[in-house]
């Protein structure tokens, strides 16, 4: 059970309080109907899935309830940092 630093609570909290939210910084298109099928596919389905540094979303669902972003190494599962939603990509 990994420990996750919630940037809102400013505490390390156990994984079972959190819900994983998939890859981070995928900008939602402002006008989906104007997009090509390829662009829409990329938005909906294409994921980075790297071996190594991964930007991802978490929600402290059984805590403060907030979504936030994290950088984690997918080979070691170690977090590099976590930061609040809306902050620029780290």
């Amino acid at each position: 059970m990994i420990l996750i630093h919630c940037p809102y609570c400013d505490e390390d909290r156990p994984e079972i309080e959190f819900a994983y939210g998939g890859e981070a910084h995928i900008a939602r298109p402002l006008d989906p109907s104007a997009m090509s099928d390829a662009e829409w596919e990329r938005y909906l389905f294409i994921r980075n899935n790297p071996r190594g540094r991964h930007h991802e979303r978490w929600r402290h669902s059984h805590g403060c309830g907030r979504f936030f972003n994290a950088v984690r190494d997918t080979v070691t599962d170690k977090f590099e940092t976590t930061y609040k939603a809306g902050e620029p990509r780290k």
Binding site: P14, H62, C64, G65
Partner: protein, 168 residues
């Protein structure tokens, strides 16, 4: 009509007592969820200083998240009125019920299913967390007294779990 109805309670009226711990249902109370962008707006609604730090409590109000406060009052307490403030007020008096765990083994009993380090959980702190798979809000009211809020349909399970641990 309503005066002939009785409310069914999910928790037993009788306390569990033994092994240096007493577990009982908290008395009925009014509960409101207050949501706002700042503690100042919540304070303006309540008429007293609402805690601004997540996890802090004051005057029956707990700050559970950056935009979330839970206010608990007497059973007949009227709902707070937004009065022009940008505060969303929702009554949750009956969504939650609560179990009070008290005694020298209180922290140990809760630690059976709660993954937080309760020895570092100061008096007056409150937070949402879990007991095994069930969401709870735990508040340390005194060194050996914890107030545990839980949604009512999970309350019987939580009661059974906590009392079983206490009996061990």
């Amino acid at each position: 009509m309503s005066d002939v109805l009785t409310r069914s309670e999910p928790l037993p009226a009788e306390a569990f007592s033994g092994n240096q711990v007493v577990i009982r249902a908290a008395p009925a109370m009014a509960r409101f969820s207050l949501r706002a962008r700042t503690a100042a707006e919540v304070s303006a609604v309540l008429g007293f200083e609402a805690p601004a730090k997540i996890g802090a409590t004051a005057h029956g109000v707990a700050c559970l998240g950056p935009d979330e406060w839970m206010y608990r009052g007497a059973p007949d307490a009227p709902p707070p009125v937004a009065a022009g403030q940008m505060v969303a007020i929702t009554e949750i008096s009956h969504r939650n019920t609560a179990i009070v765990v008290e005694g020298p083994r209180g922290a140990e009993v809760l630690s059976a299913g709660c993954p937080l380090d309760l020895s570092k959980f100061d008096i007056g702190r409150a937070t949402r967390t879990v007991f095994e798979t069930v969401e709870i809000i735990v508040e340390r009211e005194a060194n050996d007294r914890f107030h545990v809020e839980v949604w009512r349909s999970f309350a019987p399970w939580l009661w059974t779990a906590i009392t079983q641990v206490a009996a061990e």
